[in-house]
Structure formats: structure tokens, C-alpha cells
Symmetry: C2
Subunit: 335 residues, 2 copies
């Protein structure tokens, strides 16, 4: 079951039973717009603050996946969830009403990868019949949290990414579902000394490379063994760096690589610079798009690697580096 240095290959591979996604207006206007379960036109979602709006996104995604799977909140053994806000307040206030035992996670934008990794081990280990994973982000909340409140009207460099407003929720189970998680590779913190919070792709690419390389080693695989290798939110800048770093390690993943941050927005028309980012980016792209491709068999096996940048505004202002982390999940078609 344990293979190599950092991976698990499941003897009893858990299923992604169902998934749900909700996004904001801009994401709804993007290339994946028609695939999301719900597109919210009001960025405040009728609430008074950005933080409450993000909480509402989590609540909608969680209630959505319960409804789609025909389950009630009492059926869910655990929720594994997280977000980008300080002390994870979107999660605390968003999921409170569900009254489900909660393991709060912080993995920055790698959260959905972390949650699926832990959730798969718990389901496969027999610790619950149904486990829910949730991750979210909100453009305005993230800008306020990490950079500047929107009202400042600051300039965005071309290397900056656009935090996705959205939340994805997934229910894992041993009952046959839409796809199967057959393995995981858990990431270490990787620090290449980058310090630019306006260039998160460059900060996270080395972590993505580290985890993908380790996945290849542990499973004795190479790029061709995956139909797609999908990172979370490296964006255009991080994508180029990742391809380069993997080549240095002897692997050409340029044919298989996709990035959720490059899929979710149209760079030409949506003015999103380096691409989408945030916990919500990898989460909603999996729930709305990737999962459908796997389910219908267009892709037989993918490596899904949400990527996180481990910074706070305090660590950034104190001149610290921005280390990255990436958690890989092997997702396969169920025939």
C-alpha cells in the first residue's frame, strides 16, 4: 500500500461519489462557464463582507454535493476543508451549520489535494462511509488578505494571478462513483527563495515539480502513463517554469501538462494576466471539468496536483520567502 518515499497506492481505491461547484460571475463568463453547477452574479452573495460571501460559497457547494448525491448531512462522517483566509474563517463560518465533525486543513491553494489525500486514506481505511472535502477562495477576500483591498485600485503586474471566486465540494466513498482515486503523493515544503507574492506561479512551480517527480519515482511511471498532468494554479508563468524544471530532471511533461489556472479564464479577453489561482481554482476545475472528462473516459488516468504558496502578509512584509507545497492525487476512469 505504501510505495516509495511519499506515496500510497490504494488496495481499496475510494471513489469520488459526487462533486459540486459554485463560482462567481467572472468564472461563469470563462471557458468553463457552462460546466459549473451554479454561477453567482452577486460577488457579495447577499452578505455584508467578502469573508461572509466566501463562507456562503462553501455552504452552497457543500449543500449542493449533498443534494446531488442524495445524502443528508447526517450521512457524512467527516468534512476535510480549508480556505485561504487567516485562521480559516471562510470554512469555520461556512460549514458550521452542517454540524459535521470537521478536520480543518491549511495547505494554501493545495487544499483540495490535501483534503482528497487525507480523505482517501480515511475512506480506504474504513473510518467512514462518506467523507466530504471542501475548498474555497474569493477574489476580493484574497486581495484584501494578501495584497491590497480592491478599493485601492492597485496595478497588477503581468505575473500576478487572479484568485478564483468559487468553492468545490466532493464526497468520497467506497460506493461506486464517478471516478476513482487510486493513489496519492504527499508533498514536502519546497523553497527556492522566491519572494514575489505577485508571482505565485514561480513560487509554486518547484513544489509541483518535486511532487510530480516523486510520483513518477514512487509509482515507476513517466509522463505517458497519465493522459493529463493537471496542476492547480501555476498559471502561464509557473507552467513554463514547471516544464523547464521537469526537463532538467529528465522528464518532458509538456504534452500532458494542463493547469487549472490556465483553463478557467480566457487570458485574451478576461484580463487575468498569469491565470486563475486560489484554493477554489483547482477545486472547481476538478469538480466541473476534469471529473467529467475522466467519467466519460476521455481521460483514463490523470495526475491532479493542486499547488499552494505558503505565505502570509506578515511573512511577506517581514521579507521572508514564499515556499510552496503540492499534493498529487491519481484519479482514474471507472469502467
Amino acid at each position: 500500500m505504501i510505495i516509495g518515499k511519499q506515496s500510497i497506492q490504494f488496495d481499496r481505491a475510494p471513489y469520488i461519489l459526487e462533486a459540486s461547484s459554485v463560482v462567481g460571475k467572472k468564472e461563469g463568463e470563462g471557458p468553463l462557464g457552462k460546466l459549473f453547477d451554479r454561477v453567482e452574479q452577486d460577488p457579495m452573495l447577499g452578505k455584508d463582507t467578502w469573508e461572509e460571501a466566501e463562507s456562503e460559497l462553501q455552504k452552497i457547494a457543500a449543500e449542493g454535493v449533498l443534494k446531488k448525491s442524495g445524502l443528508t448531512k447526517a450521512d457524512i462522517r467527516y468534512i476535510l476543508a480549508g480556505d485561504l483566509l487567516e485562521q480559516m474563517t471562510a470554512t469555520s463560518f461556512g460549514l458550521m451549520d452542517l454540524e459535521i465533525p470537521l478536520f480543518g486543513l491549511y495547505g494554501a491553494c493545495s487544499t483540495m489535494g490535501e483534503a482528497l489525500s487525507l480523505g482517501s486514506m480515511l475512506i480506504s481505511g474504513g473510518y467512514g462511509e462518506y467523507i466530504m472535502t471542501v475548498a474555497s477562495s474569493h477574489y476580493a477576500g484574497a486581495e484584501k488578505q494578501f495584497r491590497f483591498p480592491l478599493d485601492y485600485g492597485n496595478q497588477r503586474p503581468l505575473a500576478a494571478s487572479w484568485t478564483v471566486t468559487g468553492s468545490g465540494a466532493i464526497i468520497l466513498s467506497m460506493k461506486k462513483g464517478r471516478a476513482r482515486i487510486t493513489g496519492i503523493t504527499t508533498g514536502k515544503i519546497v523553497d527556492f527563495g522566491m519572494k514575489d507574492s505577485m508571482n505565485m506561479g514561480a513560487c509554486m512551480a518547484p513544489a509541483a515539480c518535486d511532487t510530480i517527480y516523486q510520483n513518477f519515482m514512487d509509482f515507476n511511471r513517466q509522463a505517458e502513463d497519465y493522459d493529463k498532468i493537471v496542476t492547480g494554479d501555476l498559471g502561464y508563468v509557473g507552467h513554463d517554469i514547471l516544464i523547464h524544471l521537469m526537463k532538467e530532471k529528465g522528464f518532458d511533461i509538456s504534452k500532458q501538462h494542463m493547469d487549472c489556472g490556465m483553463l478557467i479564464f480566457d487570458q485574451e479577453t478576461q484580463d487575468t494576466h498569469a491565470g486563475g489561482s486560489g484554493c477554489g481554482c483547482a477545486a472547481v476545475t476538478l469538480c466541473a471539468h476534469l471529473l467529467r472528462q475522466i467519467e466519460k473516459g476521455a481521460w483514463k488516468r490523470i495526475l491532479y496536483i493542486p499547488t499552494g504558496a505558503l505565505l502570509s502578509k506578515v511573512s511577506f512584509n517581514e521579507g521572508r520567502t514564499v515556499p510552496g507545497i503540492a499534493h498529487a492525487v491519481v484519479i482514474e476512469h471507472v469502467s
Copy 2:
């Protein structure tokens, strides 16, 4: 293995192989002072910022437990760790050099309970030979993060607690160790509508009550089935509320109840008001004190319940409530 609504009773109960603790000067002068592995006299630990100082505490605790157990970092399959700082920066920078696959957790001051719960399931499920759990807090970093920087010299109301400067690290394994984790009860978010960040005990007591009561129901136990019922950091105010709330549910836990926040400081002489708090409080008290009592058989079985208050300075300033969460771990003597 799954019992009741929120609990696991382990068929293969994992061991606490070894534990390590490091604290600051004030904790070293308290009633448990002689029990800690290391007492740091310099609150900055030779670093430039409070955040770096807290990272250093985690590093010392993690390296300490490796040394005490005769293991190297390559032996550890996963670290499950967290802290109180925004975006968990103490953990990211403190544990980076260990190069061990990391699952970052956010459970506020319940982190060590959350980490032991997930870690025990992973070890018992066969997902690793050794798993490390780490939690930390720092008085000055927490005051700056949640209330006011120390330089402001603000008044502290009597209901306020004193964040413990310290970090505890534990290695879990199926190899026979110093104590055994035989069960867990995972907490839900509980919100009684309290809004006072200077009275965290009152905010967290309802969550502690909810988890302890559920533990009693799931395991069909009562107070007398535990030698001690030890909450994390309710302090004097929260202690009184917890006893009262449990009585309302028909259980008198006043003979068994202890609180790490009441154990770690001398209220009379150390001017710590309601008691100690922070992720570090429950972590170092377990590592240095509780574990010793269980190991030597003074206590055969305890219920250890670290308690977390789910607030950020943003949620507080926006007038939101302070919900709580508590994760219970059943720890037993190994004969």
C-alpha cells in the same frame, strides 16, 4: 471500529512512541517548569521576529522528539502540524528544513487533538510506520495576531488567557511506546454566540462540552471511566462553564476535570489571569506532564480534549461570533 456518531475505537491502537516539549521562560517558571525538555530564556530565540521565534520552537520540538526516539527525519512518513498564525506561517517556516511530507492543519488551539486524531487513524490504517504531530504558539506572536502588539501595553481583562510560548511534538507508531491512543471523538463547530476574544474560555467551553458528551455517548462511558478529563485551554472561566454545561446534560465531571491552561501557570504569582492558552498549551502539557502520569500508571485512562476558538482578527472586527471546536483523544496506560 467506527462507534456512535463521531468516534473511532481502534482495533489496532497506535502508540505515542515519544514526545518532546520546548517552552519559554515564563512557562519554565510555572508549576510544570521542571518537566519540559527545554526552556528557552530568550523570547526571540535569537531570531528577528516573533513569527521566526515560533518557527524555531517547532523546529526544536520536532528535532527533539526525533533525537529522543532515535529516529531520523527520513523515518517519518508524514508530519501533521499547525499553529495559530495567519496562513500557518510558524509551521511552514519551522518544519521546512525537515523535508518530510506535510499535512498542514488548522484547528486553532485544538490542533494537537486534531493532529493526534488524524495521525492515529493513519498509523492504525497502515499508512506509515512513524508519523509526527506538532503544534505551537507564542505569546507575543498571538497577541500581535489577535489582539494588540505588546508595545501597545494594553490592559488585559481578568477573563483573558495568556498564550503559552511553546511547542510540543509527538511521534506515533504501532511500535510499543509510552502510552496508547485507543479512541478518538472528532468535534463539530459549536457556536453559542459569544463574541469576546478576551474571554476565550467561555467561547470554547460549549464545544468541549459537546465533544465530551458525545464521547460518553459513543463509548457508553461516564466521568468515572476516565481518571482525568483534560481540556486544552479553557482556563478558570471556561472550566466553570464546562462543569455547569456537563451537569445540565446529566454528567458531573468536576472530580475528573483538569485544564492544561490551569496547570501550566500559577495564577497567584504569574499574573496570567484566566490561565494559559494557545496550541502550545495543550501540546506541551501533554508531552511534558500528562504523558508521564499515564506512562507510570498514575492514570490508567484519560480523555484529552484540546479546544480551539475559531476567530481571526478580521472576523472579530467584523462583529462575528467566536465559535469553538474540540477534538477528544482517549489515551491509555501501557502495561
